[in-house]
Symmetry: C2
Subunit: 396 residues, 2 copies
């Protein structure tokens, strides 16, 4: 068996990795910087999951120009500018940056990741000026985590040690950026996971895809997918150890927790709500109804208003295009029955109980469709004045 | 040929119809009432388009219990309560109301339409008390139009006279309710159109479906479809006249104008924006991209912030799942080129021009996908603090 032990601090716990950040003046207010790096002593296997947006940003296209199963020892990250919709020039800018980087430090197949506003060329001079001040042997995980933030109100950083039966251990750590009602103009979310586990490349691909599906793909968000969304896993094998089930479990836990941190840091969001749809005809139908709920403006505003208005939940399910029947539907808020065929009208007592549940920082809405066996849970947050303010004023 | 002449006032212009409203105390603040009716001297053919929500409200199910091509002379409308998710009891309540109505006045196959909160039984006693105070021979179109409002800030009422070559004419009039970022918990929109044209039933069905597709189905809204959405057309043939093209044109104009009134009355909305997507591979792809734009939270908040952030437009198109290519895309705001392959970065001068365009009460965003010949236009509005306020506080 194995033990997963969550540990303080972050990336520095993983053997053979360095990280740091500096400020080159793209975001003068950001003390911790606007350019960051993660580097490994030795070349790493790398797996990545990218946005499904057709207009992928230049760093993603640059990444995909490397041969399949390439290794890298350097990830450069910048905030404030997404390098998206910048065409061939955007990719050439990365080539320029990387060739200047190569003149300063020995790197193998360096990759880049960007977040910020769409439609502007990278300030290549400013970014490469970072190479004069960055300490490439630093292990400053906190600062790195803060430098990749945009509208995030807190850094997102996790690390764990996976202890095997024989007392030996390997490590996984991650940093992540993204804030709640995720915003494509700001390049939504980036996540960098590093490990010293001796994990085969095939397992990296498989477990990263699985982990993404049950974490970042379950948080909503506004139905949009950014041009820059990126989740990367790098492994330098330095521990010489590996245990697939332990790695899977640790990775899933870590990615789920990071996804919840993104939701909690929702732009102006105050509540985290799980929308479980069960009893659907197929998992696809359960997913459709569940994401319709977590995306619905009307559900989100009702959450913000703490209004036990289950009519909006029901109407959203009815409009989601799945097989359903109002006489078979059952809705709960946490353990409180809110709607069923026999119990349609909410009396004052139950309405008050519902209101108490909705006042909590997080709660669960369960909708049993009563048509089959499939289920799916997605996670959402409320929509507040603050969200409108942040998104109306961003950029200007 | 023919002339379409818009005329003042509303339903009273159509021969042989009566209408009125009264307040029975469901919505004490509404001077003009909460129960309204439209009645014809003689039975009418009726065509209707209903919500695609699986959970259709009881009045829609009640309507559908009549035989195909039934005739009616009476429509009863109430605000404040949607009679949705009320099961068989909701339909029985309508039967009770209609049987009491029949004891007061001679009616043929009366139908009902409701708008308001989901999940509560109708107050049958209150509604039937209306029958004691309503003047069934009234022609009070303004009051009727106001009585069906919920969060609407102004009544929506239109009438026109269609003059044929020989100087004779028939009339069409309509009232409608609905406010911008349409809200399923409030039963979104209702529209009642009456005419004295001698229009065959087949044409009524055909022209109403066409008119709906280019008006109410083009306004967005939040991707949601309410349990109560209803558009009805009643014709009593009283003028004895008909001209298909003239009727089609007048109906389309009237329905489009009503749809724009709904958008302008958007909950907290300040701007009306047309999103034309052209050069798409198919009309279905153009529609997908266009409605993605008018539904996007991020586009809506950028409109509210008057931020010429075309990155959000581009990103939304890229995420909409249609065939597209960033080097072929061209974006205009009104006549101003905002983005093309050769022209990616917005300089200060153009940004200022874009800002001037966005300050207008209405403008057009055109996205040429460059992949084909198909186009589609939908209409949206901005998302303001006020929207969140209205929807967080509604009901409580």
């Amino acid at each position: 068996m194995f033990n997963i032990i969550e540990i303080k601090n972050g990336l520095e716990n993983v053997k053979g990795f360095f990280c740091g950040a500096t400020n080159v003046g793209m975001r003068p207010d950001a003390e911790d910087g606007d350019v960051a790096f993660i580097r490994s002593e030795v070349p790493c296997d790398i797996s990545a999951v990218f946005t499904t947006n057709t207009f992928q940003a230049a760093p993603i296209k640059h990444f995909q120009k490397y041969p399949k199963d390439f290794q890298t020892d350097f990830v450069l990250i910048n905030a404030k500018n997404a390098n998206a919709m910048t065409g061939e020039k955007g990719i050439e800018d990365i080539d320029t940056i990387m060739s200047i980087l190569s003149s300063k430090i020995n790197v193998v197949n360096p990759v880049m990741s960007s977040t910020g506003v769409i439609g502007y060329r990278l300030p290549v001079d400013k970014i490469t000026s970072a190479f004069d001040t960055l300490n490439f042997n630093a292990s400053d995980s906190h600062r790195t985590a803060r430098a990749i933030m945009t509208t995030d109100s807190f850094k997102k950083e996790l690390a764990c040690k996976v202890e095997l039966d024989n007392g030996e251990s390997f490590n996984i750590a991650a940093i992540c950026k993204g804030a709640g009602m995720i915003n494509p103009a700001m390049a939504t979310m980036l996540c960098f996971i590093i490990t010293d586990a001796d994990i085969p490349k095939n397992d990296m691909d498989e477990l990263l895809a699985q982990g993404t599906e049950t974490s970042f793909n379950r948080i909503s968000v506004d139905g949009d997918t950014s041009t820059n969304d990126t989740v990367m896993l790098l492994s330098n094998k330095k521990s010489g150890l590996y245990h697939k089930e332990a790695f899977r479990k640790a990775l899933n836990q870590m990615m789920f927790e990071l996804a919840m941190m993104i939701l909690k840091d929702g732009e102006g969001a105050n509540k985290l709500v799980a929308f479980e749809v069960k009893g659907a005809k197929s998992e696809e139908e359960a997913r459709k109804a569940s994401t319709a709920l977590s995306n619905s403006l009307l559900v989100k505003t009702a959450l913000f208003g703490e209004d036990p208005n289950w009519g909006r939940i029901a109407s959203t399910i009815g409009a989601s295009g799945i097989a359903c029947d109002e006489s078979k539907l059952i809705i709960h808020y946490d353990d409180l029955l809110i709607y069923s065929n026999e119990f349609r009208e909410l009396d004052k007592e139950r309405e008050n109980k519902a209101y108490e549940i909705m006042k909590q920082e997080s709660f669960k809405v369960t909708c049993n469709i009563g048509m089959g066996e499939a289920s799916y849970t997605s996670y959402g947050c409320d929509l507040s004045y603050e969200y409108v303010k942040i998104n109306a004023e961003y950029r200007t």
